[in-house]
């Protein structure tokens, strides 16, 4: 056995725990957490308040209501991921706070794992709040009979998608020099670039199952009331829609999570404060 092989000790776990607490404190103290909190509360409230104000009825089923309400989960997840994970590593180097943080008796990887988990926790909290408000609205409109297994599945998929989004942004934070670059690249990649690439593959009739944003559709698809968008009948336009497969989608999200998390830790660990 290699005598230098690293074996994590209880000290490392304690350091990770301390970093998670410290990072969560930092997330709470920064005003930008308010942006995500406001969105998490405001979006479901709009879907709850606007239909009665305009004299419209709510969707006929609880799942239908949830599907329209949670249609913005994707945006909230990407925004939260970019905000909470975008500068976790690049910020320490750009702002030179790393000169304060790194020469301490803890492994750099413990610091980075702690930072990752804290970013993930913050994103999960925001998404959970979004779902909680949606569920409360469902309870008030449809009663507790409106709660369904599909909503629970959607919540699980949203948390999994959060994890892969945080991993992607975390990876960019570990390789980029500037916080603004890592945050914006993560945000626009997930919100615009990958959806455009997905669209290109779709036009070329290639199933884009391997693109993370393609699988994000599962969050509302599992509710069973997918919008049948597209062109109207008789327009003479035919195109293929590739629907993400549930288990393959879970596999793709998990793969992005694991690969980019470990790549991010590896890259961050190699970075030096030159």
């Amino acid at each position: 056995m290699d005598a230098n092989r690293y074996i994590p000790s209880t000290d490392d776990f304690k350091n990770i725990y301390l970093t998670i607490k410290f990072e969560l404190l930092k997330h709470i103290k920064r005003r930008r957490i308010l942006i995500t909190l406001i969105l998490a509360i405001l979006i479901p409230l709009i879907f709850f308040a606007v239909p009665p104000l305009l004299g419209h009825d709510y969707a006929s089923t609880a799942n239908g209501f949830a599907a329209s309400n949670l249609g913005f989960a994707n945006l909230l997840i990407i925004l939260s991921g970019a905000i909470f994970a975008g500068d976790v590593i690049s910020g320490e180097f750009e702002n030179k706070t790393g000169l304060f943080l790194f020469p301490t008796p803890q492994r750099k990887s413990s610091i980075f794992i702690g930072k990752y988990i804290a970013s993930l926790t913050a994103t999960w909290v925001i998404v959970s709040l979004y779902y909680l408000i949606t569920i409360m609205e469902i309870a008030s409109i449809y009663g507790t009979s409106g709660f369904s297994e599909e909503i629970a599945q959607s919540f699980f998929l949203a948390l999994l998608y959060c994890t892969s989004v945080v991993s992607i942004v975390f990876f960019f934070s570990s390789i980029m020099k500037r916080t603004i670059t890592s945050t914006l690249i993560g945000f626009f990649l997930l919100l615009m670039i990958l959806p455009i690439i997905t669209a290109v593959f779709t036009v070329a009739e290639v199933d884009p199952w391997f693109i993370i944003t393609h699988n994000e559709g599962l969050i509302t698809d599992v509710l069973g009331t997918v919008n049948q968008g597209g062109f109207g009948p008789g327009q003479g336009v035919n195109f293929t829609i590739f629907k993400p497969d549930l288990w393959r989608g879970i596999g793709v999200m998990s793969a992005y999570t694991v690969i980019l998390f470990f790549s991010g830790i590896f890259m961050a660990d190699r970075r030096k404060m030159e």
């Binding site: 706070t97 301490t104 404060m273």
Partner: protein, 364 residues
């Protein structure tokens, strides 16, 4: 009666001995039975004293950045309780050395040890008893000193009561007590610097590694830091200090290393360095204003290298020997010049620094 704690060279057990000045005390290590003796007055030790133990040891350290050699095979050590001054111009390699000592950089070759532990191979253990201040660190401006220091206290495994007590203590030392619960975003550069020092000393480290600790501080702040260094030195803390302020170095350091171009130019105890600084000037004052003829007479004295007026005094450059000084005084008097004051002056550390840096560059 004197008291001294020494360390057994075999098992490193600390042994406290007592004796009178001049007295030689026989020692037997209670742990491994190693025999030795210690003489109080002459400081001759058979068993290695703690103060001789190297806390920081740098061996053949080299650091390359994209083909540029920032550090070129340097070696030095710092003994327990010693303050080592690390002096050099910008780009000399001071901060690179400090970053290598704190595992912020990896050496291209060579090793840096703290308490005999290789910093690069086992940083968590090596940095356990180290407090550091490197360059001008950024500070989480949305947090308070209490929140920031609490985290670092926990990382050093201090308990909550201990952390709260130490935070109050260090903030008092660095004069930031009134700012304990205010966001650091409103702090001036000097206050941020003080906070960084508070972080460095919070866990009562055995080793302090400080990179330009007085940058951004006003004269009062500089004095405060000097007092802190003296206070920690008296507690036996080993201090590695990089600084541009040569007077600070002279006043606080036991030993000085001069670094330039990534190489050690010269080193020695502060006393040795100051001893190497030559007396080369005589400051003289005359009763009457010197006439042109007087000045010509003075210039004919062969022992005088140069002669100029500065701030009401005449500065006479000579070879620095007491004999020459005496000859010059005698000749001035013989020429009928009424000397009111006549004193030799040493060049300061700054002039020494400039001269050795010039020597290194071949500018003389």
């Amino acid at each position: 009666m004197l008291s001294k704690t020494v360390e057994c060279p075999k098992c490193e057990t600390h042994i406290t001995i007592q004796g009178n000045p001049g007295e030689t005390t026989a020692l037997i290590c209670p742990n491994c039975n190693t025999k030795g003796k210690f003489t109080f007055q002459k400081e001759k030790v058979e068993i290695k004293t703690i103060s001789e133990h190297n806390i920081i040891e740098v061996k053949n350290l080299t650091k390359m950045f994209n083909g540029f050699k920032a550090l070129d095979n340097i070696s030095f050590n710092v003994k327990k309780g010693e303050i080592l001054g690390f002096v050099g111009p910008n780009g000399a390699g001071k901060t690179t050395t400090i970053k290598l000592l704190t595992n912020l950089l990896t050496p291209t070759s060579g090793n840096a040890y703290i308490n005999n532990i290789d910093v690069n191979k086992n940083p968590t253990k090596a940095l356990l008893s180290v407090g550091s201040l490197i360059e001008v660190p950024g500070i989480y401006d949305y947090l308070t000193p209490h929140e920031i220091l609490t985290y670092f206290g926990k990382i050093h495994r201090m308990n909550k009561n201990e952390i709260d007590q130490k935070i109050k203590e260090v903030l008092k030392i660095i004069k930031l007590s009134d700012w304990e619960n205010k966001k650091t975003g409103s702090f001036s550069t000097g206050m941020q610097r003080r906070l960084a020092i508070a972080k460095a000393i919070l866990h009562s480290p055995d080793v302090l590694i400080l990179d330009e600790p007085v940058i951004g501080l006003d004269p009062r702040g500089i004095k405060d830091i000097r007092d802190i260094l003296k206070r920690y030195k008296s507690k036996g803390v080993t201090i590695f200090l990089s600084s541009h302020l040569l007077n600070e170095v002279r006043e606080t350091c036991d030993r000085i290393i001069f670094l330039d171009g990534g190489k050690i130019v010269t080193q020695g105890t502060t006393e040795e360095i100051m001893h190497r600084i030559k007396i080369d000037t005589i400051e003289a004052e005359f009763l009457n204003q010197l006439t042109e003829a007087d000045i010509k007479k003075i210039e004919t004295i062969p022992e005088i290298n140069s002669f100029e007026k500065e701030n009401g005094f005449f500065k006479i450059k000579f070879d620095g020997s007491p004999e020459t000084s005496n000859k010059i005084l005698t000749k001035l008097t013989k020429q009928g010049l009424k000397v009111v004051s006549f004193s030799t002056k040493k060049a300061d550390l700054e002039s020494f620094y400039v001269s050795i840096m010039n020597e290194e560059k071949g500018v003389m």
